[in-house]
């Protein structure tokens, strides 16, 4: 039981009270004993004086007559008295005494002549018995001590009972109630009976105030915690459900936080998650240097860095492009973190590429269109490259088109376009200039090489073509003109016009029966 606790208030109090009452009892008994002893010594002196008075007549006679026997009788008689340890009579030269142990505190009386007052005939001395006095003092002292102990015990018992009823019991009650009370609940302590205005009552009131405050505080904290949890949940939702990978990292590349989208991205490129993919996830990008350069530049200007970068991936046919948003965050403890958000733009990139193709290529022949061809020529001029512009016009196409229809004409054009595609090197290009006109650009070739190439091309173009729709073989020819940059012209328009002139010259030659395949611009006379 809690109330019987060894260090409980009541036990402690009882121990202290018992010990202090014992100590006080002990000290006061000692004091009493001392006083009693001194009193007893006084008393014994008085008793001895009385004794003297009683025996003085006989003692005087004995001394007067030097009567040894009588003196002996007197001293022996005195010694039988408890208070006297020993007695001595001196008269003349004689000394009569009883056996004795010491001669301390000796009390001497004069013995007068029985017949003449004032004539001293001897002395009677008595020695008080210290043991007897002590014994008596002890007896009295013991009685006193007993009385004191009884009194102290009674007082202690009463005090303990009162303290138990008045203080300890209510305190234990308060303590137990408090023990059973959980802070934050609406439960309060009850003020013990008769303590409405006591310090214990005040204590209970204070405890209850404290409990109320705690309850309010806990409630407020709970609300705050709930809000925070909700907020955190939402943040987590945003973060986790984001389709774009979000990564929080240290400037040196250690990843602190990443979302599900990031792992999905890594899955897509068959890479296992690592703690560090290098600064700004450099290992994941095809051109990390560009990314690093751009990001550092932006951060140096306190700006957010945005840019489009390609992710390294084994499947080259499906390139992954991401729009990277990188920002630098300085935390409250002055640490720098980088936040990276990667938006997948692969699809858009693909569509853009498609758009690009549509804009630059001839839908039907899949050759570059005139617009793209002109742009490429401009670019080569800008780069001051040496190249040749070869202009080709089909012969006999119009007739086939008119005779068999547009579909058949288109078939012929696609066939020629395919021949052109496979006849030029990778770095060169060909394009559909319009109608049945084509332009081929070759770099780093001389006239002889051109002649060989053109001859090969024409061989294939001249081959009869089977029109499956009409089960009919048809064939077309081509007239070709070529102009060199920068020898013939340094301008696109000039080059094309000169090539066109040369081509016209070729076409004319057919009419004159010479039947040229190819004419160079510098061979044409104005």
């Amino acid at each position: 039981m809690r109330s019987m606790n060894k260090s409980g208030l009541l036990i402690r109090l009882a121990v202290v009270m018992v010990f202090s009452s014992l100590a006080v009892g002990f000290i006061s008994s000692q004091l009493f004993y001392r006083l009693t002893y001194l009193g007893e010594v006084d008393k014994s002196k008085k008793q001895i004086s009385e004794l003297y008075k009683t025996v003085s007549a006989t003692a005087s006679i004995a001394a007067y007559l030097s009567d040894h026997e009588l003196a002996k009788e007197v001293v022996v008689g005195l010694a039988t008295n408890g208070v006297v340890q020993g007695a001595i009579m001196e008269f003349g030269d004689e000394v009569v005494s009883t056996d004795m142990e010491g001669k301390e505190n000796i009390i001497q009386f004069d013995l007068h002549s029985p017949f003449e007052q004032g004539r001293i005939v001897g002395h009677l001395s008595m020695i008080p018995d210290p043991a007897y006095i002590q014994l008596r003092a002890k007896e009295i002292g013991l009685d006193n001590a007993k009385a004191l102990i009884a009194q102290a015990s009674a007082a202690t018992l009463i005090a303990i009972i009162i303290i138990y009823l008045m203080i300890t019991q209510p305190m234990i009650y308060i303590s137990k109630s408090l023990h059973k009370t959980t802070p934050g609940t609406s439960k309060r302590l009850i003020i013990p009976e008769f303590h409405q205005n006591s310090e214990l009552g005040d204590l209970v009131v204070d405890i209850n105030n404290l409990l109320s405050n705690t309850q309010q505080q806990l409630a407020a904290e709970q609300t705050l915690r709930d809000d925070l949890e909700l907020l955190e949940k939402r943040f987590r939702m945003i973060f986790e459900s984001s389709q774009s990978p979000i990564i929080l990292m240290e400037p040196r590349g250690s990843i602190l936080l990443y979302n599900h989208a990031f792992t999905k991205l890594l899955d897509k490129i068959n890479t296992d998650i690592k703690k560090n993919f290098g600064a700004l996830l450099g290992e994941l990008f095809k051109e990390p240097e560009t990314l690093l350069k751009n990001v550092r530049l932006a951060f140096a200007n306190d700006e957010i860095s945005t840019g489009e970068y390609q992710i390294v991936s084994s499947l080259d046919e499906k390139p992954i492009w991401v729009h990277v948003v990188a920002s630098s965050i300085i935390s409250e403890d002055m640490k720098e973190y980088y936040q990276l958000t990667l938006h997948d733009i692969s699809k858009r990139k693909k569509e853009l590429d498609k758009l690009n193709i549509r804009a630059n290529y001839d839908q039907m022949t899949q050759l570059l269109n005139r617009h793209a061809g002109e742009k490429n020529i401009q670019k080569l001029i800008y780069e001051k490259q040496e190249f040749v512009v070869i202009l080709m016009d089909l012969n006999g196409f119009k007739e086939i088109n008119d005779k068999y229809g547009h579909d058949c004409g288109d078939e012929i054009l696609i066939n020629v376009a395919n021949i052109l595609k496979y006849s030029v090197r990778h770095d060169d290009f060909s394009c559909r200039w319009g109608g049945d006109e084509f332009v081929i650009i070759l770099t780093g070739v001389d006239k002889e090489a051109i002649r060989i190439i053109v001859k090969k091309m024409l061989l294939k173009i001249n081959e009869p073509y089977f029109l499956s729709a009409h089960k009919q073989e048809v064939s077309v020819g081509a007239s070709i003109g070529a102009a060199f940059h920068p020898k013939d012209s340094t301008e696109m328009l000039g080059l094309v016009q000169m090539a066109d002139k040369a081509m016209y010259h070729t076409k004319q030659s057919r009419a004159s029966g010479k039947a040229l395949d190819l004419t160079f611009a510098d061979e044409v006379d104005d």
Binding site: I61, Y64, L65, D67, H68, E69, S113, F115, E116, R119
Partner: protein
């Protein structure tokens, strides 16, 4: 004749003395004329009569002579010497005698016999009225001095 006259005078004086006993008696302590002691103090007289000493100051053994019964002269003597009634003196003696150590004085029936005894005993000491002094005796202490 002279002897008769003296005797008559003594009788007269005795009469007077008896008559003045209540008032004043001229008692003296006497010893034989041959006793070397010529003068004693009151204490010395007390000591001899009350049994403390049994010798004169010079060391000669002394024999105190007292009267029997309660005679006026005896009453007067003790009253004046130790300030006690005869009853108390007797009580004293009875107590002292009990121990058997002290020898009480020799008792004679009358002053006359005391004088007769004293006349022939050089080591005796006694008391009497001054007027009864003989030539064989001498005063060593006077009670009314």
């Amino acid at each position: 004749m002279a002897r008769l006259k003296i005797t008559l005078l003594v009788i007269l004086l005795q009469l007077l003395a008896i008559d003045g006993l209540a008032a004043e008696q001229d008692l003296v302590v006497v010893v034989n004329i041959n006793n070397p002691t010529s003068k004693m103090s009151k204490s010395q007289v007390i000591d001899l009569f009350m049994g403390r000493y049994i010798a004169f100051p010079n060391g000669e053994k002394a024999t105190p002579i007292d009267l029997i019964d309660e005679q006026d002269i005896k009453i007067f003597f003790y009253q004046n010497l130790v300030g006690m009634s005869l009853a108390r003196v007797n009580a004293y003696w009875s107590r002292v005698k009990f121990t058997g150590r002290v020898k009480p004085s020799v008792k004679v029936p009358s002053e006359t016999e005391l004088i007769q005894h004293m006349n022939s005993s050089p080591l005796s000491i006694g008391y009497m009225e001054r007027r009864n002094l003989t030539k064989h005796l001498k005063v060593v202490y006077a009670l009314n001095e």
